[in-house]
Symmetry: C2
Subunit: 259 residues, 2 copies
């Protein structure tokens, strides 16, 4: 199975994108709702939680892991790679590669939680690929609560987005990376506020593309992933809000199993 973890249900945007591209590969998802969100917590705490999440997924038969949480990817993915001997994908690198390829002016914007932005993970990754690119990043800590409230089309959400995006607009970025798995749900509000000509990179979609490419080149692993039953979605706390976000992401009822 493909193991996917996130601090909550936002990472289901990744699960959904993977399901679309790799419908024959069953998934096991873990959302750490009992300790969500990660974005406001310290790197040490996020790493500790990530190790526990991976152990859970591997114990349930995952043979490959996607870190579907930008906060965890930015502070913990190197360390997790050292600790565990399975292929690990995360949401940052594929989005960065795509952004570097997409930009014309070399001015890339990144939005994410406070934890993600503070690590500078996107800046470092982009600089590692092409040191000529300029990265402008902006922490947007209120967007996750707004999405979790379902305020996807409220005036306040639009104003808050405008406030967050304004500095990036001033910097004339031509590419914007959505560095949090909740943000794809706000894509339609973000596009007009950052500018219609700005390319928006959805990290959930990009990691799904990267995984498909990898599995197409590793047929044996892909075949072994394909023969193992149905998708399972575990959470460390079951709440009504989570069920409704899951439904919104998948467009169908999702059974959340208690872990």
């Amino acid at each position: 199975m493909i193991g996917i973890f996130d601090s909550g249900v936002g990472g289901m945007t990744v699960a959904r994108a993977v399901e679309k591209l790799l419908p024959s590969c069953p998934q096991i998802y873990f959302g750490d709702l009992a300790r969500t969100p990660y974005g406001s917590k310290s790197p040490e705490t996020i790493l500790r939680y990530s190790v526990q999440n991976m152990e859970f997924l591997l114990s349930r038969g995952a043979k490959l892991i996607i870190i579907a949480c930008n906060s965890a990817a930015s502070v913990a993915s190197d360390e997790l790679g050292k600790l565990f001997d399975v292929p690990i994908f995360e949401v940052i690198s594929p989005a960065v590669r795509r952004a570097v390829a997409a930009t014309g002016t070399g001015r890339i914007g990144v939005i994410g939680t406070r934890a993600t932005i503070k690590t500078g993970a996107y800046d470092k990754e982009i600089a590692g690929l092409d040191s000529d690119k300029r990265v402008f990043s902006q922490a947007c800590p209120l967007l996750v609560p707004l999405v979790e409230e379902g305020w996807l089309n409220k005036r306040e959400t639009k104003m808050i987005l405008r406030r967050y995006l304004y500095p990036l607009k001033l910097k004339q970025v031509d590419t914007l990376v959505l560095g949090c798995t909740h943000y794809p749900l706000l894509k339609k509000l973000i596009q007009p506020r950052i500018g219609s000509r700005v390319t928006i990179i959805d990290s959930s979609e990009e990691v799904a593309f990267a995984l498909k490419k990898f599995l197409d080149a590793n047929r044996q692993l892909k075949n072994s992933l394909s023969s193992e039953g149905e998708n399972k979605y575990y959470v460390s706390d079951v709440t009504e809000t989570a069920k409704s976000i899951a439904k919104r992401i998948f467009g169908r009822e999702i059974e959340l199993l208690s872990a």
Copy 2:
């Protein structure tokens, strides 16, 4: 020592109110920042965390506990009273008694997190005291993130408050209970939006008054609390945001100890 716990640093509004009224009684505070917030989590999870928090405080010498988190108070205080043999105060009952005494029209509004409002704890407490009172409650899940961002005077915060308070205004409440320890920081914005003649009840202040009254009647306990060193503030995760909220609440630098 007086033990105080909260899901985060919001409960420091209680610690501050207690410090003002009982300056000679040292406190030990625990803020569960590694798992904050509680307001969006299930009752089972909140109870489990509350038990752990009480065990921590008692192991460090607390002889009396204040549950400074409305979410924990509303779902866990009865159970905690059965499990632990120490005096337990919580933020709901004192605020309810005050609200019932203060209202003239008998129409009381309550605002809080989703978890607090969903339990109906305030409704039940008020009905238990006086079944003639009418309670109108409103979950305000975005207020905690707004306070934690320090957006205490932003236009968006005012708009969101207006949206949340409007239904209570329509119901013509004459008393409004701030059923979350973060909300006192928004009191100045709440008053004009709910109406200048509405009495605002601050649950942090009310629990401090109740505790003082109890200790004045239990001199022996008070004396035994008074002789034990200085205030200590523990958190399960140390973050910059927490430090800045703590400073805003106390008006001075607060050393956050890692627990």
